[in-house]
Protein backbone atom coordinates (compact mmCIF):
# COMPACT_ATOMS: atom_id res chain seq x y z
CA UNK A 1 0.00 0.00 0.00
CA UNK A 2 1.61 3.20 -1.18
CA UNK A 3 0.90 6.42 0.60
CA UNK A 4 -0.23 9.49 -1.25
CA UNK A 5 3.13 11.22 -1.16
CA UNK A 6 5.02 8.47 -2.97
CA UNK A 7 2.21 8.12 -5.42
CA UNK A 8 2.35 11.83 -6.07
CA UNK A 9 6.10 11.89 -6.50
CA UNK A 10 6.12 8.92 -8.83
CA UNK A 11 3.52 10.42 -11.09
CA UNK A 12 4.46 14.05 -10.73
CA UNK A 13 4.70 14.69 -14.46
CA UNK A 14 1.23 13.38 -15.19
CA UNK A 15 -0.21 15.28 -12.26
CA UNK A 16 1.52 18.49 -13.30
CA UNK A 17 0.24 18.20 -16.84
CA UNK A 18 -3.24 17.29 -15.65
CA UNK A 19 -3.58 20.10 -13.14
CA UNK A 20 -1.85 22.87 -15.04
CA UNK A 21 -3.37 21.65 -18.29
CA UNK A 22 -6.85 21.84 -16.81
CA UNK A 23 -6.22 25.30 -15.43
CA UNK A 24 -4.81 26.62 -18.70
CA UNK A 25 -7.62 24.95 -20.64
CA UNK A 26 -10.22 26.61 -18.41
CA UNK A 27 -8.60 30.02 -18.81
CA UNK A 28 -8.33 29.63 -22.58
CA UNK A 29 -11.88 28.30 -22.97
CA UNK A 30 -13.20 31.15 -20.85
CA UNK A 31 -11.32 33.68 -22.93
CA UNK A 32 -12.63 32.10 -26.12
CA UNK A 33 -16.20 32.26 -24.83
CA UNK A 34 -15.85 35.90 -23.85
CA UNK A 35 -14.39 36.92 -27.18
CA UNK A 36 -16.34 34.76 -29.62
CA UNK A 37 -19.73 33.89 -28.16
CA UNK A 38 -22.70 35.98 -29.19
CA UNK A 39 -25.03 35.31 -26.29
CA UNK A 40 -24.57 37.65 -23.35
CA UNK A 41 -25.13 34.96 -20.74
CA UNK A 42 -22.53 32.77 -22.42
CA UNK A 43 -20.08 35.63 -22.23
CA UNK A 44 -20.71 35.95 -18.50
CA UNK A 45 -20.25 32.20 -18.13
CA UNK A 46 -16.97 32.54 -20.02
CA UNK A 47 -15.78 35.12 -17.51
CA UNK A 48 -16.62 32.73 -14.68
CA UNK A 49 -14.79 29.85 -16.36
CA UNK A 50 -11.71 32.02 -16.75
CA UNK A 51 -11.86 32.91 -13.05
CA UNK A 52 -12.25 29.24 -12.16
CA UNK A 53 -9.07 28.40 -14.06
CA UNK A 54 -7.13 31.06 -12.22
CA UNK A 55 -8.46 29.89 -8.87
CA UNK A 56 -7.39 26.34 -9.69
CA UNK A 57 -3.91 27.63 -10.50
CA UNK A 58 -3.70 29.40 -7.15
CA UNK A 59 -4.57 26.29 -5.20
CA UNK A 60 -2.23 24.18 -7.34
CA UNK A 61 0.87 26.30 -6.75
CA UNK A 62 0.17 26.27 -3.03
CA UNK A 63 0.35 22.49 -2.86
CA UNK A 64 3.38 20.92 -1.23
CA UNK A 65 4.18 17.28 -1.82
CA UNK A 66 2.93 15.27 1.14
CA UNK A 67 1.31 18.30 2.72
CA UNK A 68 -1.95 18.22 4.65
CA UNK A 69 -4.62 20.89 4.94
CA UNK A 70 -3.26 23.74 7.07
CA UNK A 71 -5.54 22.96 10.00
CA UNK A 72 -4.10 21.93 13.34
CA UNK A 73 -6.23 19.13 14.69
CA UNK A 74 -5.84 17.91 18.28
CA UNK A 75 -2.70 15.82 18.55
CA UNK A 76 -0.95 17.45 15.60
CA UNK A 77 -0.11 20.81 17.13
CA UNK A 78 3.41 20.78 15.72
CA UNK A 79 2.57 19.60 12.24
CA UNK A 80 3.34 22.95 10.57
CA UNK A 81 6.18 21.49 8.52
CA UNK A 82 3.90 19.02 6.76
CA UNK A 83 1.25 21.50 5.73
CA UNK A 84 0.50 23.11 2.40
CA UNK A 85 0.80 26.83 1.82
CA UNK A 86 -2.25 28.52 3.42
CA UNK A 87 -1.83 31.88 1.70
CA UNK A 88 -3.00 30.99 -1.85
CA UNK A 89 -6.07 29.33 -0.37
CA UNK A 90 -6.91 32.48 1.55
CA UNK A 91 -6.34 34.58 -1.56
CA UNK A 92 -8.58 32.30 -3.59
CA UNK A 93 -11.34 32.72 -1.04
CA UNK A 94 -11.17 36.46 -1.59
CA UNK A 95 -10.94 36.08 -5.36
CA UNK A 96 -13.96 33.75 -5.49
CA UNK A 97 -16.14 36.17 -3.60
CA UNK A 98 -15.06 39.03 -5.84
CA UNK A 99 -15.68 36.88 -8.91
CA UNK A 100 -19.15 36.12 -7.58
CA UNK A 101 -19.87 39.82 -7.11
CA UNK A 102 -18.76 40.60 -10.66
CA UNK A 103 -20.88 37.77 -12.07
CA UNK A 104 -23.97 38.91 -10.18
CA UNK A 105 -23.53 42.45 -11.44
CA UNK A 106 -22.92 41.22 -14.98
CA UNK A 107 -26.14 39.20 -14.91
CA UNK A 108 -28.11 42.19 -13.70
CA UNK A 109 -26.73 44.17 -16.63
CA UNK A 110 -27.71 41.35 -18.97
CA UNK A 111 -31.26 41.54 -17.61
CA UNK A 112 -31.26 45.29 -18.21
CA UNK A 113 -29.94 44.89 -21.74
CA UNK A 114 -32.48 42.19 -22.50
CA UNK A 115 -35.30 44.45 -21.36
CA UNK A 116 -34.15 47.24 -23.65
CA UNK A 117 -33.25 45.24 -26.72
CA UNK A 118 -35.45 42.13 -26.35
CA UNK A 119 -32.45 40.10 -27.39
CA UNK A 120 -29.32 38.80 -25.75
CA UNK A 121 -27.28 38.71 -28.93
CA UNK A 122 -24.27 40.97 -28.64
CA UNK A 123 -24.22 41.70 -32.37
CA UNK A 124 -27.48 43.56 -32.05
CA UNK A 125 -26.25 45.80 -29.27
CA UNK A 126 -24.33 48.46 -31.07
CA UNK A 127 -25.75 51.78 -30.08
CA UNK A 128 -22.28 52.71 -28.80
CA UNK A 129 -19.15 52.53 -30.85
CA UNK A 130 -16.30 50.34 -29.69
Amino acid sequence: MMDFQTLFEQNIEIITIAVYGTAIALIVIGLYAVLMKKHLVKIVIGLSIMDAGIHLLFVAVGYISGGTAPIFSPGSENAATTMVDPVPQALVLTAIVIGFAVTALALSLVIRLYKHHHTANIDQLNSLKW
Binding site: V34, I43, D51, V61, A101, A106
Partner: protein
Protein backbone atom coordinates in the same frame (compact mmCIF):
# COMPACT_ATOMS: atom_id res chain seq x y z
CA UNK B 1 -0.98 59.90 16.80
CA UNK B 2 -4.73 60.24 16.84
CA UNK B 3 -5.51 60.07 13.16
CA UNK B 4 -4.07 57.18 11.19
CA UNK B 5 -4.28 56.38 7.46
CA UNK B 6 -6.78 53.58 8.09
CA UNK B 7 -9.41 56.23 8.86
CA UNK B 8 -9.50 56.93 5.13
CA UNK B 9 -11.13 53.55 4.60
CA UNK B 10 -12.92 52.94 7.89
CA UNK B 11 -14.97 56.14 7.92
CA UNK B 12 -16.51 55.56 4.45
CA UNK B 13 -17.11 51.89 5.28
CA UNK B 14 -18.97 52.70 8.49
CA UNK B 15 -21.01 55.26 6.60
CA UNK B 16 -21.73 52.85 3.74
CA UNK B 17 -22.94 50.11 6.07
CA UNK B 18 -24.92 52.55 8.19
CA UNK B 19 -26.63 54.54 5.42
CA UNK B 20 -29.40 51.93 4.85
CA UNK B 21 -30.28 52.29 8.55
CA UNK B 22 -29.79 56.03 8.77
CA UNK B 23 -32.18 56.68 5.90
CA UNK B 24 -34.90 55.15 8.05
CA UNK B 25 -34.27 57.82 10.67
CA UNK B 26 -33.93 60.79 8.36
CA UNK B 27 -34.52 60.71 4.66
CA UNK B 28 -31.74 63.15 3.84
CA UNK B 29 -29.12 61.14 5.71
CA UNK B 30 -28.03 59.39 2.52
CA UNK B 31 -27.12 62.72 0.98
CA UNK B 32 -25.48 64.39 3.96
CA UNK B 33 -23.48 61.58 5.55
CA UNK B 34 -21.16 61.03 2.55
CA UNK B 35 -20.40 64.75 2.59
CA UNK B 36 -19.36 64.56 6.22
CA UNK B 37 -17.23 61.49 5.54
CA UNK B 38 -15.55 62.99 2.49
CA UNK B 39 -14.87 66.18 4.41
CA UNK B 40 -13.38 64.10 7.19
CA UNK B 41 -11.08 62.53 4.59
CA UNK B 42 -9.86 66.02 3.68
CA UNK B 43 -9.14 66.66 7.36
CA UNK B 44 -7.23 63.38 7.60
CA UNK B 45 -5.21 64.35 4.53
CA UNK B 46 -4.10 67.66 5.97
CA UNK B 47 -3.30 66.10 9.31
CA UNK B 48 -1.23 63.33 7.71
CA UNK B 49 0.57 65.68 5.36
CA UNK B 50 1.60 67.80 8.35
CA UNK B 51 2.65 64.71 10.20
CA UNK B 52 4.89 63.35 7.46
CA UNK B 53 6.41 66.77 6.89
CA UNK B 54 7.62 66.65 10.50
CA UNK B 55 8.25 62.96 11.19
CA UNK B 56 8.81 61.35 7.81
CA UNK B 57 6.71 58.74 6.10
CA UNK B 58 4.08 56.64 7.86
CA UNK B 59 3.76 52.89 7.45
CA UNK B 60 0.72 51.84 9.46
CA UNK B 61 0.42 48.19 10.42
CA UNK B 62 -2.99 46.54 10.38
CA UNK B 63 -4.18 43.80 12.71
CA UNK B 64 -0.99 44.29 14.72
CA UNK B 65 1.35 42.50 12.30
CA UNK B 66 4.32 44.50 11.16
CA UNK B 67 5.11 44.73 7.46
CA UNK B 68 5.87 42.55 5.55
CA UNK B 69 3.75 40.02 7.51
CA UNK B 70 0.55 41.97 7.65
CA UNK B 71 -1.06 44.48 5.34
CA UNK B 72 0.34 47.96 5.74
CA UNK B 73 -0.84 51.38 4.67
CA UNK B 74 1.88 53.72 3.50
CA UNK B 75 1.74 57.49 3.41
CA UNK B 76 4.82 58.97 1.80
CA UNK B 77 4.97 62.50 0.39
CA UNK B 78 4.00 60.87 -2.93
CA UNK B 79 1.01 58.82 -1.81
CA UNK B 80 0.02 61.53 0.65
CA UNK B 81 -0.01 64.09 -2.13
CA UNK B 82 -2.24 61.93 -4.31
CA UNK B 83 -4.52 60.97 -1.43
CA UNK B 84 -4.91 64.61 -0.47
CA UNK B 85 -5.71 65.55 -4.04
CA UNK B 86 -8.24 62.73 -4.39
CA UNK B 87 -9.99 63.45 -1.12
CA UNK B 88 -10.29 67.18 -1.81
CA UNK B 89 -11.66 66.56 -5.28
CA UNK B 90 -13.96 63.87 -3.90
CA UNK B 91 -15.43 66.37 -1.49
CA UNK B 92 -15.80 69.05 -4.18
CA UNK B 93 -17.55 66.57 -6.47
CA UNK B 94 -19.91 65.65 -3.64
CA UNK B 95 -20.65 69.34 -3.14
CA UNK B 96 -21.32 69.76 -6.84
CA UNK B 97 -23.54 66.69 -6.98
CA UNK B 98 -25.65 67.66 -3.99
CA UNK B 99 -28.24 69.37 -6.15
CA UNK B 100 -28.09 66.63 -8.77
CA UNK B 101 -29.19 64.13 -6.20
CA UNK B 102 -32.42 65.99 -5.61
CA UNK B 103 -33.56 64.94 -9.07
CA UNK B 104 -33.34 61.29 -8.09
CA UNK B 105 -35.90 59.33 -6.12
CA UNK B 106 -35.48 58.19 -2.54
CA UNK B 107 -34.21 54.66 -3.03
CA UNK B 108 -31.90 55.67 -5.82
CA UNK B 109 -30.18 58.43 -3.85
CA UNK B 110 -29.12 55.86 -1.28
CA UNK B 111 -27.58 53.57 -3.90
CA UNK B 112 -25.94 56.41 -5.76
CA UNK B 113 -24.39 57.90 -2.63
CA UNK B 114 -23.00 54.62 -1.35
CA UNK B 115 -21.46 53.70 -4.69
CA UNK B 116 -20.03 57.14 -5.31
CA UNK B 117 -18.51 57.40 -1.84
CA UNK B 118 -17.00 53.91 -1.99
CA UNK B 119 -15.54 54.63 -5.42
CA UNK B 120 -13.61 57.56 -3.93
CA UNK B 121 -12.67 55.61 -0.80
CA UNK B 122 -11.49 52.68 -2.91
CA UNK B 123 -9.33 54.98 -5.00
CA UNK B 124 -7.69 56.31 -1.85
CA UNK B 125 -7.22 52.70 -0.77
CA UNK B 126 -5.39 51.86 -4.01
CA UNK B 127 -3.12 54.81 -3.40
CA UNK B 128 -2.20 54.19 0.24
CA UNK B 129 -1.99 50.42 0.41
CA UNK B 130 1.42 48.78 0.57
CA UNK B 131 0.26 45.28 -0.32
CA UNK B 132 -0.27 44.05 -3.86
CA UNK B 133 -3.24 41.79 -3.15
CA UNK B 134 -4.89 44.48 -1.07
CA UNK B 135 -4.49 46.76 -4.07
CA UNK B 136 -6.36 44.15 -6.14
CA UNK B 137 -9.22 44.21 -3.62
CA UNK B 138 -9.44 47.99 -3.76
CA UNK B 139 -9.30 47.95 -7.55
CA UNK B 140 -12.32 45.64 -7.44
CA UNK B 141 -14.13 47.95 -5.00
CA UNK B 142 -13.59 50.83 -7.40
CA UNK B 143 -14.50 48.61 -10.34
CA UNK B 144 -17.79 47.30 -8.94
CA UNK B 145 -18.89 50.81 -7.97
CA UNK B 146 -17.84 52.17 -11.35
CA UNK B 147 -19.69 49.47 -13.33
CA UNK B 148 -22.87 50.08 -11.34
CA UNK B 149 -22.65 53.84 -11.63
CA UNK B 150 -22.05 53.66 -15.38
CA UNK B 151 -25.33 51.80 -15.75
CA UNK B 152 -27.01 53.88 -13.07
CA UNK B 153 -29.47 55.68 -15.35
CA UNK B 154 -30.70 52.28 -16.57
CA UNK B 155 -30.91 53.62 -20.08
CA UNK B 156 -30.18 51.37 -23.04
CA UNK B 157 -26.76 52.85 -23.70
CA UNK B 158 -25.93 53.02 -20.02
CA UNK B 159 -26.40 49.29 -19.54
CA UNK B 160 -24.36 48.61 -22.65
CA UNK B 161 -21.50 50.86 -21.54
CA UNK B 162 -21.63 49.27 -18.10
CA UNK B 163 -21.48 45.77 -19.53
CA UNK B 164 -18.58 46.66 -21.78
CA UNK B 165 -16.72 48.24 -18.87
CA UNK B 166 -17.44 45.18 -16.74
CA UNK B 167 -16.09 42.77 -19.36
CA UNK B 168 -12.86 44.69 -19.80
CA UNK B 169 -12.64 45.12 -16.03
CA UNK B 170 -13.07 41.35 -15.69
CA UNK B 171 -10.06 40.83 -17.96
CA UNK B 172 -8.09 43.30 -15.89
CA UNK B 173 -8.78 41.46 -12.65
CA UNK B 174 -8.00 38.07 -14.23
CA UNK B 175 -4.64 39.30 -15.51
CA UNK B 176 -3.87 41.04 -12.24
CA UNK B 177 -4.49 37.78 -10.39
CA UNK B 178 -2.18 35.90 -12.76
CA UNK B 179 0.52 38.52 -12.22
CA UNK B 180 0.12 38.30 -8.44
CA UNK B 181 0.25 34.50 -8.65
CA UNK B 182 3.57 34.50 -10.50
CA UNK B 183 5.08 37.08 -8.18
CA UNK B 184 3.90 35.20 -5.10
CA UNK B 185 5.43 31.91 -6.19
CA UNK B 186 8.74 33.62 -6.91
CA UNK B 187 9.08 35.81 -3.83
CA UNK B 188 6.83 34.21 -1.21
CA UNK B 189 5.43 37.54 -0.14
CA UNK B 190 2.74 40.01 -1.08
CA UNK B 191 4.17 43.17 0.44
CA UNK B 192 5.23 45.51 -2.34
CA UNK B 193 8.36 46.72 -0.57
CA UNK B 194 9.54 43.18 0.10
CA UNK B 195 8.71 42.09 -3.43
CA UNK B 196 10.84 44.98 -4.66
CA UNK B 197 13.65 43.90 -2.35
CA UNK B 198 13.55 40.32 -3.62
CA UNK B 199 12.99 41.21 -7.25
CA UNK B 200 16.70 40.95 -8.27
CA UNK B 201 16.63 37.24 -7.37
CA UNK B 202 13.65 36.47 -9.60
CA UNK B 203 14.55 34.89 -12.97
CA UNK B 204 14.40 37.41 -15.80
CA UNK B 205 11.82 35.43 -17.78
CA UNK B 206 9.36 35.24 -14.86
CA UNK B 207 9.85 38.89 -14.15
CA UNK B 208 8.99 39.91 -17.69
CA UNK B 209 5.93 37.68 -17.96
CA UNK B 210 4.61 38.93 -14.63
CA UNK B 211 5.29 42.50 -15.69
CA UNK B 212 3.34 41.97 -18.92
CA UNK B 213 0.36 40.67 -16.95
CA UNK B 214 0.53 43.66 -14.64
CA UNK B 215 0.90 46.09 -17.53
CA UNK B 216 -2.15 44.70 -19.31
CA UNK B 217 -4.26 44.69 -16.14
CA UNK B 218 -3.25 48.08 -14.80
CA UNK B 219 -3.10 49.57 -18.29
CA UNK B 220 -6.83 48.90 -18.48
CA UNK B 221 -7.38 50.76 -15.21
CA UNK B 222 -5.11 53.60 -16.32
CA UNK B 223 -6.89 53.92 -19.68
CA UNK B 224 -3.74 53.05 -21.62
CA UNK B 225 -3.94 52.07 -25.29
CA UNK B 226 -5.17 49.62 -26.65
CA UNK B 227 -7.58 48.54 -23.91
CA UNK B 228 -9.24 51.86 -23.19
CA UNK B 229 -12.34 51.29 -25.31
CA UNK B 230 -14.49 51.29 -22.20
CA UNK B 231 -13.56 54.80 -21.16
CA UNK B 232 -15.44 57.03 -23.63
CA UNK B 233 -18.64 55.01 -23.24
CA UNK B 234 -18.44 54.89 -19.48
CA UNK B 235 -17.65 58.59 -19.19
CA UNK B 236 -20.47 59.59 -21.47
CA UNK B 237 -23.15 57.35 -19.97
CA UNK B 238 -22.46 57.82 -16.26
CA UNK B 239 -24.17 60.54 -14.22
CA UNK B 240 -22.20 63.76 -14.51
CA UNK B 241 -20.63 63.84 -11.03
CA UNK B 242 -19.52 60.28 -11.70
CA UNK B 243 -17.92 61.28 -15.02
CA UNK B 244 -16.00 63.94 -13.14
CA UNK B 245 -14.98 61.31 -10.58
CA UNK B 246 -13.78 58.95 -13.32
CA UNK B 247 -11.57 61.68 -14.72
CA UNK B 248 -10.38 63.20 -11.47
CA UNK B 249 -10.15 60.25 -9.10
CA UNK B 250 -10.37 56.84 -10.75
CA UNK B 251 -7.89 57.54 -13.54
CA UNK B 252 -5.45 59.00 -11.00
CA UNK B 253 -5.69 55.82 -8.95
CA UNK B 254 -5.21 53.74 -12.10
CA UNK B 255 -2.10 55.63 -13.15
CA UNK B 256 -0.80 55.43 -9.59
CA UNK B 257 -1.20 51.65 -9.51
CA UNK B 258 0.63 51.32 -12.82
CA UNK B 259 3.46 53.58 -11.71
CA UNK B 260 3.81 51.95 -8.31
CA UNK B 261 4.09 48.50 -9.83
CA UNK B 262 6.40 49.50 -12.66
CA UNK B 263 8.66 51.86 -10.75
CA UNK B 264 8.77 50.32 -7.29
CA UNK B 265 8.07 46.62 -7.64
CA UNK B 266 9.86 45.78 -10.87
CA UNK B 267 13.37 46.63 -11.96
CA UNK B 268 13.08 45.69 -15.63
CA UNK B 269 15.13 47.69 -18.10
CA UNK B 270 13.29 49.20 -21.02
CA UNK B 271 9.87 49.40 -19.40
CA UNK B 272 10.29 53.17 -19.36
CA UNK B 273 10.53 53.18 -23.12
CA UNK B 274 7.44 51.01 -23.29
CA UNK B 275 5.52 53.50 -21.14
CA UNK B 276 6.74 56.33 -23.31
CA UNK B 277 5.77 54.67 -26.59
CA UNK B 278 2.39 53.48 -25.32
CA UNK B 279 1.70 56.86 -23.77
CA UNK B 280 2.54 58.50 -27.06
CA UNK B 281 0.25 56.21 -29.04
CA UNK B 282 -2.52 56.60 -26.46
CA UNK B 283 -2.24 60.36 -26.58
CA UNK B 284 -2.13 60.64 -30.35
CA UNK B 285 -5.03 58.28 -31.04
CA UNK B 286 -7.22 59.73 -28.30
CA UNK B 287 -6.67 63.32 -29.36
CA UNK B 288 -7.35 62.52 -32.99
CA UNK B 289 -10.51 60.66 -31.96
CA UNK B 290 -11.56 63.64 -29.87
CA UNK B 291 -11.72 65.92 -32.92
CA UNK B 292 -14.35 63.82 -34.63
CA UNK B 293 -16.65 63.51 -31.61
CA UNK B 294 -20.10 65.00 -31.80
CA UNK B 295 -20.99 64.27 -28.21
CA UNK B 296 -19.58 66.72 -25.65
CA UNK B 297 -18.94 64.21 -22.89
CA UNK B 298 -17.31 61.76 -25.28
CA UNK B 299 -15.04 64.52 -26.49
CA UNK B 300 -14.05 65.31 -22.91
CA UNK B 301 -13.49 61.59 -22.27
CA UNK B 302 -11.13 61.25 -25.24
CA UNK B 303 -9.34 64.37 -24.09
CA UNK B 304 -8.91 62.70 -20.67
CA UNK B 305 -7.36 59.65 -22.27
CA UNK B 306 -5.04 61.96 -24.16
CA UNK B 307 -3.97 63.62 -20.92
CA UNK B 308 -3.33 60.24 -19.33
CA UNK B 309 -1.16 59.44 -22.34
CA UNK B 310 0.88 62.56 -21.73
CA UNK B 311 1.20 61.67 -18.04
CA UNK B 312 2.50 58.22 -18.99
CA UNK B 313 4.97 59.74 -21.45
CA UNK B 314 6.49 61.92 -18.83
CA UNK B 315 6.63 59.09 -16.28
CA UNK B 316 8.34 57.15 -19.05
CA UNK B 317 11.00 59.83 -19.51
CA UNK B 318 11.76 59.07 -15.89
CA UNK B 319 14.01 61.98 -14.93
CA UNK B 320 13.22 63.83 -11.73
CA UNK B 321 11.96 66.85 -13.65
CA UNK B 322 9.77 64.67 -15.88
CA UNK B 323 8.19 62.91 -12.92
CA UNK B 324 7.64 66.31 -11.37
CA UNK B 325 5.90 67.41 -14.56
CA UNK B 326 3.83 64.24 -14.64
CA UNK B 327 2.57 64.71 -11.09
CA UNK B 328 1.84 68.37 -11.77
CA UNK B 329 -0.11 67.32 -14.85
CA UNK B 330 -2.01 64.69 -12.84
CA UNK B 331 -3.09 67.41 -10.44
CA UNK B 332 -4.02 69.82 -13.22
CA UNK B 333 -5.82 67.20 -15.22
CA UNK B 334 -7.95 66.19 -12.24
CA UNK B 335 -8.88 69.73 -11.35
CA UNK B 336 -9.46 71.04 -14.86
CA UNK B 337 -11.26 67.99 -16.19
CA UNK B 338 -13.60 67.98 -13.18
CA UNK B 339 -14.40 71.60 -13.90
CA UNK B 340 -15.05 70.84 -17.57
CA UNK B 341 -17.33 67.91 -16.77
CA UNK B 342 -19.17 69.95 -14.15
CA UNK B 343 -19.73 72.87 -16.49
CA UNK B 344 -20.43 70.65 -19.48
CA UNK B 345 -23.10 68.73 -17.64
CA UNK B 346 -25.03 71.96 -17.00
CA UNK B 347 -25.09 72.56 -20.75
CA UNK B 348 -26.44 69.06 -21.29
CA UNK B 349 -28.90 69.49 -18.44
CA UNK B 350 -30.33 72.63 -20.02
CA UNK B 351 -30.32 71.74 -23.67
CA UNK B 352 -31.28 68.12 -23.02
CA UNK B 353 -28.93 67.26 -25.87
CA UNK B 354 -25.49 65.76 -25.54
CA UNK B 355 -24.29 66.98 -28.92
CA UNK B 356 -21.82 69.82 -29.33
CA UNK B 357 -24.01 71.46 -31.94
CA UNK B 358 -26.63 72.12 -29.27
CA UNK B 359 -24.32 74.59 -27.57
CA UNK B 360 -24.77 77.44 -30.06
CA UNK B 361 -24.74 80.77 -28.26
CA UNK B 362 -25.47 79.23 -24.91
CA UNK B 363 -23.41 81.83 -23.09
CA UNK B 364 -26.36 84.18 -23.01
CA UNK B 365 -28.42 81.65 -21.11
CA UNK B 366 -25.69 80.37 -18.80
CA UNK B 367 -23.02 83.06 -18.59
CA UNK B 368 -21.21 81.78 -15.48
CA UNK B 369 -21.08 78.15 -16.56
CA UNK B 370 -19.89 79.21 -20.01
CA UNK B 371 -17.14 81.25 -18.43
CA UNK B 372 -16.01 78.26 -16.36
CA UNK B 373 -16.03 76.02 -19.40
CA UNK B 374 -13.98 78.48 -21.42
CA UNK B 375 -11.54 78.88 -18.53
CA UNK B 376 -11.16 75.13 -18.23
CA UNK B 377 -10.66 74.75 -21.98
CA UNK B 378 -7.91 77.35 -22.07
CA UNK B 379 -6.27 75.86 -18.99
CA UNK B 380 -6.22 72.30 -20.31
CA UNK B 381 -4.74 73.38 -23.63
CA UNK B 382 -1.98 75.05 -21.64
CA UNK B 383 -2.47 78.77 -22.10
CA UNK B 384 -0.56 80.93 -19.65
CA UNK B 385 -1.38 82.15 -17.04
CA UNK B 386 -3.41 79.08 -16.09
CA UNK B 387 -2.09 76.15 -14.13
CA UNK B 388 -2.19 73.83 -17.16
CA UNK B 389 0.60 75.86 -18.74
CA UNK B 390 3.15 74.99 -16.07
CA UNK B 391 2.74 71.23 -16.22
CA UNK B 392 3.08 71.15 -20.00
CA UNK B 393 6.02 73.55 -19.77
CA UNK B 394 7.94 71.32 -17.36
CA UNK B 395 7.21 68.20 -19.35
CA UNK B 396 8.50 69.87 -22.52
CA UNK B 397 11.64 71.05 -20.70
CA UNK B 398 12.30 67.57 -19.35
CA UNK B 399 11.82 66.07 -22.82
CA UNK B 400 14.24 68.66 -24.19
CA UNK B 401 16.78 67.84 -21.47
CA UNK B 402 16.71 64.20 -22.46
CA UNK B 403 16.79 65.14 -26.16
CA UNK B 404 13.54 63.42 -27.13
CA UNK B 405 12.89 65.63 -30.12
CA UNK B 406 10.04 63.51 -31.50
CA UNK B 407 8.24 63.77 -28.18
CA UNK B 408 8.45 67.54 -28.22
CA UNK B 409 7.09 67.66 -31.75
CA UNK B 410 4.35 65.19 -30.79
CA UNK B 411 3.30 67.12 -27.72
CA UNK B 412 3.21 70.40 -29.63
CA UNK B 413 1.20 68.76 -32.40
CA UNK B 414 -1.26 67.40 -29.87
CA UNK B 415 -1.55 70.84 -28.32
CA UNK B 416 -2.59 72.18 -31.70
CA UNK B 417 -5.19 69.41 -31.99
CA UNK B 418 -6.49 70.23 -28.52
CA UNK B 419 -6.60 73.88 -29.46
CA UNK B 420 -8.74 73.05 -32.48
CA UNK B 421 -11.43 71.04 -30.79
CA UNK B 422 -11.66 72.96 -27.54
CA UNK B 423 -11.77 76.33 -29.25
CA UNK B 424 -14.38 74.98 -31.64
CA UNK B 425 -16.63 74.28 -28.65
CA UNK B 426 -15.81 77.57 -26.95
CA UNK B 427 -16.40 79.35 -30.22
CA UNK B 428 -19.84 77.81 -30.51
CA UNK B 429 -20.67 78.79 -26.96
CA UNK B 430 -19.71 82.42 -27.42
CA UNK B 431 -19.94 83.33 -31.07
CA UNK B 432 -22.41 81.06 -32.80
CA UNK B 433 -25.92 82.33 -33.34
CA UNK B 434 -28.35 80.99 -30.80
CA UNK B 435 -31.42 79.26 -32.05
CA UNK B 436 -34.09 80.21 -29.53
CA UNK B 437 -34.32 82.86 -26.88
CA UNK B 438 -35.77 80.73 -24.09
CA UNK B 439 -34.20 81.43 -20.71
CA UNK B 440 -32.24 78.64 -19.07
CA UNK B 441 -34.47 76.33 -17.09
CA UNK B 442 -31.82 74.89 -14.81
CA UNK B 443 -29.48 77.50 -13.45
CA UNK B 444 -26.57 76.18 -11.40
CA UNK B 445 -27.35 76.02 -7.71
CA UNK B 446 -25.22 77.65 -5.02
CA UNK B 447 -23.37 74.49 -4.05
CA UNK B 448 -22.48 73.71 -7.66
CA UNK B 449 -21.29 77.27 -8.12
CA UNK B 450 -19.12 77.05 -5.01
CA UNK B 451 -17.63 73.77 -6.23
CA UNK B 452 -16.91 75.11 -9.71
CA UNK B 453 -15.52 78.43 -8.55
CA UNK B 454 -13.17 76.78 -6.05
CA UNK B 455 -11.74 74.71 -8.90
CA UNK B 456 -11.54 77.78 -11.16
CA UNK B 457 -9.85 79.73 -8.39
CA UNK B 458 -7.29 76.96 -8.01
CA UNK B 459 -6.55 77.02 -11.74
CA UNK B 460 -5.94 80.78 -11.74
CA UNK B 461 -4.05 81.01 -8.44
CA UNK B 462 -1.72 78.13 -9.28
CA UNK B 463 -1.30 79.55 -12.75
CA UNK B 464 -0.08 82.84 -11.34
CA UNK B 465 1.78 81.52 -8.28
CA UNK B 466 2.90 77.98 -9.13
CA UNK B 467 5.34 78.22 -6.19
CA UNK B 468 2.44 77.60 -3.83
CA UNK B 469 2.17 73.97 -4.84
CA UNK B 470 5.51 73.17 -6.45
CA UNK B 471 7.43 72.21 -3.27
CA UNK B 472 4.79 69.58 -2.46
CA UNK B 473 4.98 68.13 -5.94
CA UNK B 474 8.77 68.15 -5.80
CA UNK B 475 8.66 66.19 -2.52
CA UNK B 476 6.21 63.75 -4.06
CA UNK B 477 8.43 63.22 -7.11
CA UNK B 478 11.49 62.69 -4.90
CA UNK B 479 9.60 60.19 -2.77
CA UNK B 480 8.46 58.24 -5.81
CA UNK B 481 11.93 57.99 -7.29
CA UNK B 482 13.63 57.12 -4.00
CA UNK B 483 12.83 53.43 -4.11
CA UNK B 484 15.56 52.30 -1.70
CA UNK B 485 14.28 54.56 1.01
CA UNK B 486 10.73 53.29 0.52
CA UNK B 487 11.84 49.67 0.90
CA UNK B 488 14.07 50.35 3.88
CA UNK B 489 11.53 52.42 5.76
CA UNK B 490 8.81 49.79 5.42
CA UNK B 491 10.98 46.81 6.18
CA UNK B 492 13.05 48.53 8.89
CA UNK B 493 11.09 46.86 11.66
CA UNK B 494 12.12 43.45 10.46
CA UNK B 495 15.85 44.09 10.23
Amino acid sequence: MVITPVHYIVAPLIAAFAIPLLTKIHKDAARIVPGIVLFYNVVISFFLMNHIAEHGMISETLAGWEAPWGINLVVTPFTGFLATMVSILGFIIWLYGYRFKRTLKGGEVKFYEILQMMMIAGSIGIIITGDIFNMFVFIEIVGISAFSLTAFYRSRDGAEAGFKYLLIGGFASAFLLLGILIIYTQTGTLNMAQIAERMPEVPQQMKIIALVFFLVALGIEAEMFPLNGWAPDAYSQAPSPTSATFAAVVSVAGVYALIRVVFTMFDVEGVNNYLMVMGFVTMLIAEIAAISQKNLKRMLAYSSIGQVGLILISFGIGSNLAVFGALFLMLNHSVIKSLLFMAGSYFIYNTDDKRITALNGIHKKLPIVSFFFALGSLAIIGFPPFSGFWSKFYILISAANEKYIFLIIGILLVTIIELTYYLRVVGRIYFAKEEEGEPASHRPSINALVAMSSLALFIIVIGVYPDLIMPHIQNAADALLDKTNYIQQILSVKN
